[in-house]
Symmetry: C2
Subunit: 235 residues, 2 copies
């Protein structure tokens, strides 16, 4: 029997590369994404880059304007609120699904994760942010619900973008203690309490982190208030 290496389609690789680059803010919100320079950079043709753009657009990480190309999405504050609303709803479901159903191994893994978070808590590096996000992803994985996982991953990605734009510079978004409490509720099998903890936790993330715009996306948006104050009327 021959070893069956999954072909690892390069289109997939391009997609993942861009996704990571956006989430890690190597590509900043609003940044233009020309097909050929990106293809050149990644060593593939525009075809594959376009394919990746399509998927990323569906997921709300890039914006795709006809004949004007792609750019890293720049969610408005309103969209941000929408995303967080949906996220709370989805993660409530995660909590309810998991309450009383965690295996010992799963509980142990989560606790190990939280300990990691505690360790990384001092340094406010990207490590801390990544870990906090991963905790939620791991929870979603444990539900065994593939669709729920996909949606949680999607809203998490978008939250990364949102926090990049509107978040406080150095707020570690997830309080480790809240994660710990959540695990306790899940072990205890208290679905209602787990769901509420998750809900409050995510609300807390918003109030802790969400603030004011910090990156300029488009000259127009930046200048609009100045124009107004001078009585100029942008077309």
């Amino acid at each position: 029997m021959k070893e069956r290496h999954a072909p690892v389609l390069r289109a997939q690789s391009v997609y993942r590369a861009l996704r990571r680059a956006i989430i890690e803010q190597a590509l900043k919100p609003g940044m233009k994404l020309p097909e050929d320079s990106i293809g050149e950079q990644l060593g593939v043709s525009r075809t594959l880059v376009r394919e990746a753009f399509g998927r990323l657009a569906v997921e709300g990480l890039v914006e795709l304007k006809p004949n004007r190309g792609a750019s890293v999405a720049y969610p408005t504050l309103e969209e941000a609120r929408d995303v967080f609303d949906v996220r709370r709803s989805l993660e409530r479901l995660v909590a309810e699904s998991l309450a009383g159903r965690l295996t010992a191994a799963q509980a142990a893994e989560l606790e190990a994760h939280v300990r990691q978070e505690e360790q990384a808590h001092g340094q406010d590096g990207p490590e801390s942010i990544r870990l906090a996000g991963e905790f939620h992803i791991r929870l979603a994985e444990m539900t065994g619900n593939a669709l729920l996982l996909r949606y949680v991953q999607e809203v998490s990605s978008r939250c990364s973008l949102i926090l990049a734009i509107y978040g406080r510079p150095h707020s570690s978004e997830c309080a480790v203690s809240e994660h710990r409490q959540l695990i306790d509720a899940l072990r205890a099998g208290d679905a209602a309490r787990a769901a509420d903890l998750m809900d409050h936790h995510l609300r807390a993330v918003v109030t802790r982190a969400l603030l004011t715009p910090r990156i300029e996306r488009d000259i127009r948006d930046v200048l609009a208030p100045y124009a107004l104050s001078e009585g100029l009327t942008p077309s």
Copy 2:
């Protein structure tokens, strides 16, 4: 000022055409989707068909196997359960968001919609099914939450697929009376009751409609149990 026809990108058109064809079951679950013949049929090149496939795959309407092409998704019963779980969670959010916030015009529109459903209730045509699905979409639209709308549309599409496979032939999936009750709760501003009504309504849809597989997708799946019962081991 020149008349500015939106370019109506043809990729978009291909996507929508395929999507509708799948949802309306012109393309049945499990059916193979060769790029060439479909492109030919729609009058576009494979490039655009592939682009559409990518999006549809993300949304779970088609399955994409490397080097083996695309086929209309054939969700398992387990996936079906997952989809409905997520759907209930999302539509609870819809109900909560809308409770006490419906404008008079919106309420009137919903009621008009329900009246249409009542009229179509007699004939068990696709009209009745379409209307029932549309009710939920309209509700999601009214929340003003674009992400929530997208997700509800997505789970609705997948539910169409699922019901095509596992649904009873002539169960009108949504009881009109349940829609009416829901509207009442929304008008009354009773968020908790609205959410619970929605939840029960969707649970009822599942129990009313969900049944046993009716379409065979792959010889393998059909034969697997026979093989097992004979002690054969499919590779």
